[in-house]
């Protein structure tokens, strides 16, 4: 699977704002399977937008996003091809940490309970397993969102500023887990960040 963006332009941004971009208004940008991409930009330059365009949760753009995938429904694509760690996590505060992860896993049946427990433990969240997500800190929520995103098959994993609320020891743990999961699936990752992320070896860094 490939993701191919051509002449992409958010309808709510002017061409002048996008003139320096390596993605927007480019004739063709291709994300290939099995590679690690970093999309770097200051805030307000449309980092989340580009991930939302790829994920199909925002249609306010001109140009084209092409998946070269058999899946025609956006919901099937989200279940089997693309996983997304949202900047605002999109967790359900009225469910516990474990239930939030299960909610996703019930849909895909990708991981066993044991595997989920193991991920929770690695992320050092076992003591909060049955706490309502509403009571967790931002950093804890961020880790829950990452575990949840891993509970499905995917070819592309999208992470929107995934380390913004985390300390370096936690980042290290997450990077290890991500590397392992990506390797298992032979999948790509597209990460957005404000700055370079030295603890990940990227195949390509794109300035937005």
């Amino acid at each position: 699977m490939q993701i191919r963006l051509s002449n992409l332009k958010p309808t709510y941004m002017s061409e002048a704002e996008l003139s320096a971009s390596d993605i927007y208004l480019q004739k063709e940008v291709v994300f290939e399977k099995g590679k690690k991409y970093l999309i770097k930009a200051n805030s307000g330059h449309g980092k989340s937008s580009v991930l939302n365009f790829i994920y199909g949760s925002n249609y306010n753009y001109t140009g084209k996003v092409d998946y070269s995938s058999k899946e025609d429904s956006i919901f099937n694509l989200r279940k089997t091809e693309i996983s997304y760690v949202f900047q605002d996590f999109k967790l359900f505060p009225s469910l516990t940490l474990f239930e939030n992860i299960q909610l996703k896993n019930k849909l895909t049946h990708y991981k066993s309970s044991g595997q989920i427990e193991e991920l929770i433990e690695k992320m050092q969240l076992t003591h909060r397993r049955d706490s309502l997500v509403g009571t967790l800190s931002l950093g804890q929520r961020q880790r829950v969102a990452i575990i949840r995103a891993l509970c499905q098959p995917f070819n592309f994993l999208l992470l929107d500023e995934p380390f913004s609320h985390l300390d370096s020891s936690n980042i290290k743990i997450i990077v290890d887990i991500l590397n392992k999961e990506l390797e298992e699936r032979q999948a790509s990752v597209i990460i957005t960040a404000l700055d370079n992320l030295p603890f990940i070896e990227f195949d390509k860094t794109i300035n937005l």
Partner: protein
Amino acid sequence: MLVKLQKKTLVKIQLIGYILTLFIGVFIVLTTLQLYQDVKPLISEQTDVFSDKSAVISKEVSVFKSVNKDRIYFSSEEIEELRDQPFIKDVSIFNNADFRIKAYSKQSENIPLFQTDLFFESIPDAYIDVKTEDWIWKENDEVVPIIIPENYLKLYNFGFAESQGLPVLSKNTISQITFNLKVSGNFSSEVFKSRIVGFSNKINSILVPETFLEYTNSKFGRSKKSRISRLLVTFNNPTDERILQFFNENNYSINKDKLEFSKLSFFFNSALVFVIAVALIILVLSIAFILLSFNLIIQKNKAMISNLGAIGYSYKSISKFYQVVISAATIIAIFPAIILGVYVRNLYLDKIEALFEFSEERSYIVIFGISILAVLCIVYSIVILKKIKAIVMPQRY
């Protein structure tokens, strides 16, 4: 997990309110419609009880009219107007005798001596409710058959005979008695024999065959002018409300008993329509209420629903829970309403059957109730699906 998450969004008290109001609305609508269906044959013409579709009408007699008698007669225009009324099937005319009539018995005959003045009228045979072979008169026939109202016999038996010390008479006895008729007018007279051959419930007059009246009127009649003071009208549907209204407007007097029932059925129909209208309002309000309630639930949990879509749940699977809940609530309301409706119908059928000769109509409660259920479930499902789709699917703006 999805169910657990969505269950928390429901407002139980609103669901219960919906179930209760829908139950009441559907129950009343079903039962009253069925009641109307069941009682319709009773209030319209089909059964024996109210089979009488005709009535005698005349003009109101007032102080002025008693002097100038012309005003109690119907003109041919007025008769035409009556014929043109949509609720009137037919109008037939009473011919009346334009001569003097005396009925009497002679000493020699085996009946008490009596002598009385009479009047005669005639109407076409088709409108006479007494069927008898004797109802025939040709010129030169000696005996003239007469039909009198059954009320007259009752009046005689229970009133007159009592006070005068006379014997009571059965219909049969009366039919055996032959008496004399002296018809006079136009400076001549003739004597006939006469016999009562029947008693009418419908026509409040003393009737002779039309042929007899034609013959005698031409021979003894004082004026050649036709003077129609009474009409027999046949209605399409005697319960039609317009009948009373029309007669009141034209100041026609109608044998009121006949139309008492029309009034009654008017009130019954009005009451039923009122009840059905109120029940329909309840029904519509309960539907509007639950739609509003679900709309609020969906709007309140917009973020949750859109997040579910974001992690891969399709709008169909998100809608399913709400569709099931609203359908279940509708079933919980409508099934008991159907059962109660059928039960209440059996109660009133027992009552009606005990009072009237009554053939049971088909029951529409179950089929109608299930139709309402099906329509509501489909409408709700579509509305919910559309609302959730609008939230989950990304919007262009």
